[in-house]
Amino acid sequence: MSVALALPTRRVEEWKYSDLAHALGEAGFGDETARVTIGAPPAGIEIFALDEPNRPDWIAAHYGKLRGNPVSAISLAKARGGIALRVPKGRKIADALSLEFSGNGHARALLVLEEGAELTLLERVGPETRNSGLEIVIGPHARLDHVRISPAADAVQVEEISVKLARDATYHGHFANFGARLSRTELEIAVEGEGAEVELSGVSVLSGERHADVTTHVAHDAGHTRSTQLFKKVLGGRTRAVYQGRVTVAHGANGSDSRQSAKALLLGDRAEADLQPELEIFADDVKCAHGAAVGDLDADSLFYLRARGIPEQEARHLLIHAFLEDAVDGIADMTLRETVRGAVAAALVAVTA
């Protein structure tokens, strides 16, 4: 197979805030295959290792079909192995499944939810330099709750998560990100079935000189679909957060409803936020709203809390937590919500120290 495997440069519009080639240096991502492992799988999930022969039809039907960007094409070409998971028709899995990308190199995973299936997925990522691709196919009336936590790392990490939703399918994704030398999370969401619903939220809490780029593309290809996006960033030191969010509403996708919001709190003197929500609408009778805001803590709120006896440092913490709260409280699974809150609290200590 011959593929043009060049990394994008900053001259490519979508990568102008994240200089991947520079961050990686000459070594690039290398040729290794990174690991994809899962925790004890709850009963009812089918698992298939992608380096084994005789892939079943459901993998052939879906694997490698959703790649959206050139970096993802590289992981597809180079990764040997990986994992494919399927939740069969009508199975509602109560316990969360954990999946982890670790090690250096390229990695791929595929998750298929058949009609009416339900799953909660906790995705973890190791601190190494890696290019991962996660494809998610959600069948009619199926629902996936996805929480991804990427701890602070000094590596270069790119992950494309591409999701396809059928009729009345639901995808809720939360992305807690604590930054890396370069971190890019790209969400490529194809809302293909009528009545499907997508809720994306995320927090980035960055200290030191870390970077976190969340780039999303939500394509409303069918009518009466809904999507919301809420991304909040708290930036200390000399960090940089990027949000590029593009929503497209295709011809005929009438009655679609989309909202996107990105906000950043700049606490570091040399922190930078680049927030770019964007809309392309080709349909009628569509409700779309988008907004972005960058600022510091509100002085009136800070005075109010202090005048009630709360010391300045504690008051600042309270307001930062409050700022992030609405991006976290949408996580449906209580245990995962608390896990994210814990990770956020720990990361904030480094930001405000």
Partner: protein
């Protein structure tokens, strides 16, 4: 308890208070009345320690201590409470959680033991009923979506909970209808004790029908221009500020 001497305060380089002198003893309720722009809110903010209010001359002594040298949170822990004219809305912090954080921060600062959530909840509930503050309000984000009356009732609930020695009420009557005003005033009156001093700042005489002060001071252009007993409020109502200020000159 509170001894303000020849206080001059500037905001953004512009002098707002121009030599204000005022003494308030424990157990007394003093009212500060004055037209818009007279410096009423500046006085309340400078007492609570808001930044941006520069004391250029004079002193504020509170229980023998230089109040101006203390951070806002230190003043609160020592018993200074300002019921604000415009309480802020803070999404993401529930009212109950805020009350617990504030109460425990004050206790910690005084070297007292912190209270657990249940104890705080019981104390809050015991005060909330009389002020018609519902359980539902306590669960909501602080002041978010509260009506003007609800915000003011929550300010008075905090005053009841924190049990300050010196309570400053900044335009607590503004934006209230007569029923809400009565409720808030009853709450304030129930907190009058021989140990507690209050400074009631208001534009209108109306509030003083319900919270009857021991002494009234008229503030105009940054100075106290007239002083008297509670009957001064009625005179103001009849004559208007302009005449009183003129008479004083």
């Amino acid at each position: 308890m509170l001894d303000i001497k020849n206080l001059r305060v500037a905001v953004d380089g512009k002098e707002i208070l121009k030599g204000l002198t005022l003494k308030v003893e424990a157990g007394r309720v003093h009212a500060i009345m004055g037209p818009n722009g007279s410096g009423k809110s500046t006085l309340s903010y400078v007492l609570a320690g808001r930044s941006g209010y520069d004391i250029t001359e004079g002193s504020i002594t509170y229980n023998g201590e230089d109040l101006a040298a203390l951070a806002p949170e230190e003043r609160a822990a020592r018993g200074v409470f300002l019921a604000m004219q415009y309480p802020v809305e803070i999404p993401g912090v529930t009212t109950m959680m805020f009350l617990k954080s504030a109460l425990n921060a004050q206790r910690r600062s005084r070297g007292e033991l912190e209270l657990d959530a249940i104890t705080v909840l019981k104390r809050v509930r015991a005060k909330a009923a009389a002020l018609n503050v519902s359980e539902e309000m306590l669960k909501r984000a602080l002041n978010v979506g509260f009506s003007g009356g609800e915000k003011k009732r929550l300010e008075i609930l905090q005053m009841a909970l924190f049990e300050p020695s010196l309570a400053i009420l900044d335009e607590t009557d503004s934006g209230l209808d007569i029923d809400a005003l009565r409720l808030v005033a009853e709450g304030v009156n129930s907190l009058r004790t021989p140990e507690r001093a209050m400074l009631v700042i208001t534009h209108y005489q109306r509030l003083l029908d319900y919270i009857v002060p021991d002494r009234i001071h008229v503030l105009a252009k940054g100075r106290i221009v007239a002083e008297g007993g509670k009957e001064l409020a009625l005179e103001l109502e009849a004559k208007g500020y302009e005449q009183i200020v003129k008479d004083a000159a």
